[in-house]
Symmetry: C2
């Protein structure tokens, strides 16, 4: 609890004209979640994920353990939860319209990645450390990626200019999403020295090229 840089620079409701002003309740909730996640990450980095108990985190954030579970559900979610996935999912439909899943993926990544990952690479790296190196968090991360693959597959399968059925869409989306996972791991192993988005694009291109050997040819 050394520092509390948790005030958002701009209140969401002030920035988005259409949104109804958040009540005190919602603002408190958002603040508590931010504080919890911040405290938790700090503790995880310092003592290791497994050594830190929920009770510990709760005490440091001045809430009860019950509240932690109400907000995050699992200990792993304290590390994994963010708005990144929803963003990618939101822009997905318009990107895959032409039937090129991998291509749409690259476009979407450029779009979301630049706005999200470019800024706080220091924090992101430390967070990624806990994510990739703690087995239980890593496992939960895969579950999340898996869910994302399923959501994308549904979007792809329902996309008009698309020639993949449900099963094929799942295969392709799983491959693409997990390639991103591998790319992030590569980025992390390189101590975050290079650009995440660029590395992810490179990974996707690598898989494309590797897969192209012996493919039936461009459809």
């Amino acid at each position: 609890m050394s520092q509390e840089p948790n005030q958002p620079a701009v209140e969401l409701a002030d920035a988005v004209p259409g949104a109804p002003r958040m009540g005190l309740r919602e603002r408190k909730r958002a603040a508590t979640m931010r504080r919890l996640q911040h405290v938790a990450l700090e503790q995880f980095e310092e003592h290791g994920f497994d050594k830190v108990t929920i009770e510990h985190v709760a005490a440091h954030a001045d809430v009860s353990p019950s509240t932690v579970y109400r907000y995050f559900g699992t200990k792993e979610a304290l590390v994994l939860k963010d708005e990144y996935d929803d963003q990618l999912l939101a822009v997905a439909p318009m990107l895959i319209a032409d039937g090129d899943v991998f291509g749409g993926f690259e476009k979407g990544l450029r779009l979301v990645g630049d706005s999200h990952l470019g800024l706080d690479s220091g924090l992101t790296l430390r967070r990624t450390r806990v994510w990739l190196e703690t087995p239980s968090v890593r496992a939960a991360g895969f579950l999340q990626a898996d869910q994302m693959a399923h959501d994308l597959a549904r979007i792809v399968a329902e996309s008009p200019g698309n020639d993949l059925d449900d099963e094929q869409a799942l295969s392709v989306c799983t491959a693409a999403v997990m390639t991103v996972f591998a790319a992030i791991e590569n980025w992390y192993r390189g101590a975050g020295g290079r650009d995440v988005v660029e590395m992810t694009l490179a990974s996707l291109r690598t898989v494309r090229d590797a897969a192209a050997r012996g493919a039936s040819g461009p459809a």
Copy 2:
């Protein structure tokens, strides 16, 4: 504990001339593990993974809970543990020699898949049900697949006729392994009506074709 069809048709040591005859200790151990896994799966199918406690499984298999943990480490491993992965890993080096990871994957799958999955598809399907539909088991399965991807990536990167570096190898292997995961899910959702190996090969081909659009071209 309704049935105990757990005697192997042929003792391993009898079938493999080179192997030293297993001592009583090892034979007991193997038998107990088989019994435990059988009982556990039976209980999981009947009552659901989450409703069955380790204590329950241990009691039904006539061992103490301690022994279950000594043998399997986690509850999930009771579902996931098998010799399949090691087999695939064992044949991997000779298949990827030509630098075509996806192609080598298809060959390896045909090799191992036929011998392993062709026979007991009924049991495999019920086991897959627990695997895919229980979140914690599913997560552990991803961790296992992830480990496999890393092992394969190392093999690929060290393979002589290969032009991928460590990072590229990880990306490609992750994509390939997770594609298999998706294929198994597709197979399961189809109630196991079609051939697993064929469906997996089809998935790999689908990913190849999808990836080939916009690829830099066959190397």
